[in-house]
């Protein structure tokens, strides 16, 4: 709280009581300092050792994992449907069958944006896309097929924890990246996704963040698959405020 100091004026009684009044004003104010009393930039590493409240454990794996069109057909934009079938498949070390280690990180406690100084959650993900191809490989058959990726958060909006797709994070790569002989369509593309999850995205307790994938086939013949390899994901719970 601001210090509301009572100043002494000429002619005022200057005695123990008036002295104590002024000193008491300063004492009261100093003993009830608020967050707003701290000047911006006042705190250093010694006061606030980290700029982030929590770094969710980095999840990372390097192994080829394959996803099939039949298992995870793109469910449409900003859609929460999950595989198998039409829906997003969590990226994991075993690919379409699932059950391996997911590209998913869990917070130590549920984080609610706007509470406890949590201003947002910065998500950083990189996914190494190796191939988009027909199964079995046929030259050119995967032309126009898209590998799709997105970030999802697990939050509880009142009906229990559920995964929700963050629409702005949907990313796509298509087979037009490579020309020529498509029998061995090694793309080797990094799919980087960076996003700030903020109150407009969720004000419910967020427990997990993950990356998902799907395949969009607007009409190419055959059954397609994608293979991924080196993936990593982390999420930083920012001690931050909006402007």
């Amino acid at each position: 709280m601001p210090v509301d100091l009572t100043l002494q004026a000429e002619g005022d009684t200057f005695d123990a009581a008036s002295l104590n009044d002024s000193l008491g004003d300063v004492e009261t104010g100093l003993n009830a300092l608020t967050e707003q009393d701290i000047d911006e930039g006042a705190l250093s590493r010694q006061h606030l050792p980290s700029l982030v409240i929590e770094v969710a454990p980095l999840v990372e794996f390097v192994a080829t994992h394959v996803y099939t069109e039949a298992d995870c057909t793109w469910p449409g934009f900003n859609n929460n449907a999950v595989a198998p079938g039409v829906g997003w498949r969590e990226i994991n070390t075993t690919g379409s069958p699932g059950g391996g280690t997911d590209l998913e990180t869990t917070f130590a406690v549920a984080r609610t944006i706007g509470s406890d100084n949590v201003g947002g959650i910065l998500v950083l993900a990189d996914i190494h896309l190796q191939t988009i191809r027909d199964t079995p490989p046929v030259p050119g058959a995967a032309f126009g097929v898209y590998a799709c990726f997105a970030i999802q958060i697990e939050h509880d909006t009142g009906g229990g924890a559920a995964w929700e797709t963050i629409g702005k994070t949907e990313r796509y790569v298509d087979m037009r990246n490579v020309q020529g002989d498509l029998s061995d369509e090694f793309l080797h593309i990094d799919v980087p996704i960076r996003t700030l999850i903020k109150a407009a995205d969720s004000t419910s307790p967020i427990t997990k963040v993950r990356a998902v994938t799907a395949i969009y086939d607007p009409g190419a013949a055959g059954v397609h698959e994608t293979s991924l390899r080196h993936c990593n994901l982390t999420a930083l719970v920012l001690h931050a405020g909006a402007p």
Binding site: Q46, S50, V173, R176, R194, H239
Partner: protein, 209 residues
């Protein structure tokens, strides 16, 4: 505030002037009201007196600014596409600009976007290049495509539907500031179908600690 010492210390038998007395207290009263600085707080090594994260405001770590554009690119039913004009000058990507007036500081700027060609584009020089521009100055290390404007006629991202992300940390002065995601091509070519930028996000984190 800086460490303060009383300007006025009464001595025995001295007549105390009320103005001196007021001047002795005013600096504490004024600076404790929103101007407390690093000297005024015990550090984390001082047992029992350390500031806890809950003791400080949200802006004690970062102040964030952000803009985004969400678009259904694959079926094209929602959102407005940003079309890339093929011209050799930097142009702002719509909905990827943040402006503000504020104090100086160190800023972590992150841009993440989806490039989507509407046709196969293999003409050298037609591919787009992207960069972060701060107050009118393109940050060289943030350029995606090529930074060799004079020597690389093939510059630009030619091949297909492809997401990108760049980030940079810069010192920005106080006052009015503008950060943008910008795009250009090597060649001036108005023919053909233009590439587009779909989903995009520009995140600006000001370190306030």
């Amino acid at each position: 505030m800086t460490q303060r010492l009383p300007k006025f210390r009464p001595r025995n038998s001295e007549v105390v002037d009320v103005d001196d007395y007021n001047r002795a207290l005013l600096p504490f009263a004024e600076e404790a009201s929103g101007k407390l600085g690093e000297h005024n707080f015990a550090d984390q090594t001082t047992a029992g007196n350390a500031i806890q994260r809950g003791d400080v405001g949200q802006n004690a770590g970062f102040r964030w600014r952000q803009t985004e554009h969400t678009q259904d690119q694959l079926t094209g039913t929602t959102g407005t596409r940003f079309e890339i004009i093929r011209a050799p000058y930097w142009r702002t990507v719509t909905s990827a600009t943040v402006s503000w007036t504020g104090p100086a500081g160190k800023f972590w700027i992150i841009a993440s976007w989806q490039l989507f060609p509407q046709t196969i584009n293999l003409v050298p020089g037609n591919g787009p290049m992207f960069a972060i521009r701060v107050n009118g100055t393109v940050i060289p290390e943030s350029i995606v495509g090529t930074a060799e404007m004079d020597n690389d006629p093939l510059g630009g991202l030619l091949w297909g539907c492809w997401p990108h992300a760049v980030d940079t940390i810069v010192d920005i002065p106080e006052g009015e500031n503008t950060v943008e995601l910008v795009v250009r091509t090597m060649r001036d070519n108005t023919s053909g179908i233009r590439d587009i930028v779909a989903n995009r996000e520009l995140i600006i984190l000001q370190q306030t600690r």
